[in-house]
C-alpha cells in the first residue's frame, strides 16, 4: 500500500473505532445524541488524527490548533476522539453524562482536557472560534481554528453575525465544517427551516466554500488542504453526511438524533461497525 492509501485506511479504521465508542458510551449513558455524532465521525477523526497540530500531553499549548464543536450535542464524537488521541483514558468514556463525570452531556472546557470551548446552546461556537482566531493573529501565532457546525444550527442568527465578522476580519485561520446530514429534531431541515442555497449564502458572506462527501476521508483531507491554502478569507467545507452513519437502523432516522440505543441495539450496532 502507498503511504497515502495506508494513511486513509488507518483513518477509516480510527473512525470506525470512534463510532464504536459513540454507540457504547451513549448506550451506557442511557441518553445522548448518537445520530449527529455518527454523521460527524469521519470529519472529527480526520481533524484529530491527521490535520490538527495538537499535543495531548500539553492541552493548553498556546500554538495548538483549536477545535470548537459548535453543535455541542455531538459531544460523544468529540470525547471519543479526545480519548483515542490520548487526552484521557478511554475507560472514562463510560462515565458520559453520569454525576461527577468530566464528560458532561455537552462539552465543558473546564472539565474535559482538550475541549476548547463550552458549547451546547446552538449558534455560539463560530463566534468563539473567531475570537480565538483573532487572538492568534494578534499574537503572531499560526494556529488554525476548526469548527463543526450543524445544518440545523445555522438557523441561529448569531451564526450569520459570526459569518459576516469572520469574512470582515479576513480570518483565513478559521476553517468550518458544516455537518450537512439534512435532519434536525423536528424533521428534515428542508421542511423545518431551509437555509438553501447554503453554499451561495456563505459565499455571499465572503467565505471560500467547498462541497464534499463528508464520509469520504480522501475528500475531507483534500478539502482541508485547500482551505489551509486559502488566504484572506475564512473557509467553509459543506460536508454531505448521513445522520447515524454506519449503523443501519440509525441511518437517516430522525428519531436517533437524541435517543440512546438499548443493550441489544448496542450489540447489533457494534456488530455492524465491526472491528
Amino acid at each position: 500500500m502507498s503511504g497515502q492509501a495506508e494513511k486513509l485506511a488507518q483513518l477509516r479504521g480510527r473512525a470506525r473505532q470512534i463510532r464504536r465508542h459513540i454507540i457504547s458510551m451513549v448506550g451506557e449513558a442511557g441518553s445522548g445524541h448518537p445520530g449527529g455524532s455518527l454523521s460527524a465521525a469521519d470529519i472529527v477523526t480526520a481533524l484529530y488524527f491527521d490535520v490538527m497540530r495538537v499535543d495531548p500531553q500539553k492541552p493548553q499549548w498556546p500554538e495548538r490548533d483549536r477545535f470548537v464543536l459548535s453543535k455541542g450535542h455531538a459531544a460523544p464524537v468529540l470525547y471519543a476522539a479526545l480519548a483515542e488521541r490520548g487526552y484521557f483514558p478511554v475507560e472514562d468514556l463510560k462515565t458520559l453524562r453520569k454525576l461527577g463525570s468530566p464528560l458532561q452531556g455537552h462539552p465543558d472546557m473546564r472539565k474535559t482536557p482538550g475541549v476548547e470551548m463550552s458549547t451546547g446552546s446552538l449558534g455560539q461556537g463560530l463566534s468563539a472560534a473567531n475570537g480565538m482566531a483573532l487572538a492568534g493573529k494578534l499574537d503572531g501565532l499560526d494556529y488554525r481554528v476548526y469548527v463543526l457546525l450543524g445544518d440545523g444550527e445555522i438557523e441561529e442568527g448569531q451564526i450569520w453575525e459570526a459569518a459576516m465578522a469572520a469574512a470582515h476580519f479576513k480570518l483565513d485561520n478559521v476553517i468550518a465544517f458544516l455537518d450537512y446530514n439534512g435532519l434536525q429534531i423536528d424533521g428534515p431541515v428542508e421542511e423545518v427551516m431551509s437555509a438553501e442555497p447554503v453554499a451561495d449564502k456563505w459565499r455571499a458572506f465572503g467565505w471560500a466554500v467547498q462541497e464534499i462527501d463528508g464520509h469520504d476521508m480522501e475528500q475531507i483531507l483534500a478539502a482541508v488542504a485547500q482551505a489551509r491554502e486559502t488566504r484572506g478569507k475564512p473557509s467553509l467545507i459543506i460536508a454531505r453526511t448521513v445522520k447515524g452513519k454506519g449503523v443501519s437502523f440509525m441511518e437517516n432516522e430522525v428519531g436517533w438524533h437524541g435517543a440512546a440505543p438499548k443493550p441489544e441495539q448496542v450489540e447489533q450496532a457494534l456488530a455492524e461497525l465491526g472491528e
Partner: protein, 315 residues
C-alpha cells in the same frame, strides 16, 4: 459645586490606562464606541480594538474566544444590549466556562433619559447577579469606575461593569482611594438607620443623610459598589448597628441591590427595611432629573424611606 464626570467617560479613560499597562487587554464594541467611550482605546491601540458592528451576540462570543486564547476582553455596549439581548451568550459562552470577559455596560438605568424605556436598563443587575461566576460592579463615580476597571482586569473570570451616561458628582478622593472588590465603603457613619446604595444613588444617599442629620437623625451610608459578591458582613453589621436599612439603586427594586440585601438580612439579621428603586415598571422618555423625580429616586425619596423604616423600628 462638585465636579461631574460620567462613569462611561471614566471607563474609556481607564481602558486606555489599562491598555498601556497590559498588552493582553483587548476591547470590543458593537457600533457604539463613541458613546461607550471605547473609541479612545481604538485611537491608542487600533490593533487590539474590534468593532463587530451591530451584532451583540457575536461580540460576546468573540470576546469569549479571545479570552479562551488568553486575552482579557472588554466587551462594551449599552446595558440593555449588554445583558438582555445577549443573556444566553453571556450565560453559556462566558459565565459557565468562567472566561475572562469584562462586560462594560454603559447607559444603564433611567438616566439614559430621552431615548426612553427601550434603552433604559432597569433589570440588568438582577440578571447578572444570578449568574454563577459573575462579579457585578456598580461604581458610584469616576474615581470608583477607574478602580473597578483596573480591578476587573485582575479578576480571573467574568465581570459586569454597570456604568451610566450622565455626568455624576465625583465623591471619592482620587489621591486617597482604595477599592476592594466585595468590600463596601462606609461613606458616613450613623446610628439610627443605614442607607446601602450603589451607583448614582450613593450621591442621593449622602444628600439624604445630610438632610436627616439636620433633623437629628444619624444615618450610616454605605457605597455598595460590588453587588456580587455582596459584602455580607457590612450588610449585617449595618443592620446590627442601626436596626433599620434602606437600599437605593437606579434599578428595579426586584432582584438588584435591594433584593440582594433583603436576602442577606432575612437569613442573618432581619430588621425593618425599605427598597428605593424603580417600582416594577418600565421607564419613559424625559430628562434624567425629571425621570429620577418621577420614579422616586431622589434624596427626598430616600429621606421619606428612612423615616418610614424608623417608624417600623419603633422610633
Amino acid at each position: 459645586m462638585t465636579k461631574k464626570i460620567a462613569t462611561r467617560e471614566a471607563y474609556g479613560a481607564a481602558l486606555v490606562e489599562l491598555g498601556r499597562k497590559n498588552p493582553g487587554v483587548v476591547v470590543l464594541d458593537a457600533d457604539l464606541s463613541k458613546s461607550t467611550k471605547t473609541h479612545d482605546f481604538n485611537k491608542n491601540f487600533p490593533e487590539r480594538f474590534f468593532n463587530v458592528g451591530i451584532a451583540e451576540q457575536n461580540m460576546m462570543g468573540t470576546a469569549a474566544g479571545l479570552a479562551a486564547a488568553g486575552k482579557i476582553a472588554f466587551a462594551s455596549t449599552f446595558a440593555v444590549f449588554a445583558t438582555g439581548r445577549v443573556y444566553d451568550q453571556i450565560r453559556n459562552s462566558i459565565a459557565y466556562p468562567r472566561l475572562n470577559v469584562k462586560i462594560g455596560a454603559t447607559h444603564a438605568g433611567i438616566t439614559v433619559g430621552e431615548d426612553g424605556a427601550s434603552h433604559q436598563a432597569v433589570e440588568d443587575i438582577a440578571m447578572m447577579r444570578c449568574l454563577p461566576n459573575m462579579t457585578v460592579f456598580v461604581p458610584a463615580d469616576a474615581v470608583e469606575t477607574r478602580a473597578a476597571v483596573l480591578a476587573a482586569a485582575e479578576i480571573d473570570g467574568p465581570v459586569y461593569l454597570r456604568l451610566g451616561r450622565s455626568g455624576v458628582p465625583v465623591l471619592h478622593d482620587e489621591n486617597n482611594f482604595t477599592f476592594e472588590p466585595g468590600r463596601a465603603i462606609t461613606m458616613r457613619q450613623g446610628q439610627d438607620a443605614a442607607i446601602i446604595a450603589c451607583g448614582i444613588m450613593v450621591h442621593a444617599a449622602l444628600e439624604a443623610a445630610e438632610v436627616l442629620a439636620g433633623r437629628g437623625i444619624s444615618v450610616q451610608v454605605l457605597d455598595m459598589h460590588t453587588i456580587k459578591p455582596l459584602d455580607v458582613d457590612a450588610v449585617v453589621e449595618a443592620a446590627r448597628a442601626t436596626g433599620a436599612v434602606v437600599t437605593a439603586e437606579e434599578h428595579t427594586i426586584n432582584g438588584g441591590l435591594g433584593g440582594a440585601v433583603a436576602e442577606v438580612l432575612v437569613e442573618n439579621y432581619p430588621v425593618p427595611m425599605r427598597r428605593v428603586g424603580v417600582r416594577d415598571t418600565f421607564g419613559e422618555s424625559g430628562k434624567p432629573r425629571e425621570l429620577l423625580e418621577k420614579y422616586g429616586l431622589t434624596a427626598t425619596d430616600l429621606v421619606r424611606a428612612v423615616q418610614e423604616v424608623l417608624q417600623c423600628k419603633g422610633k
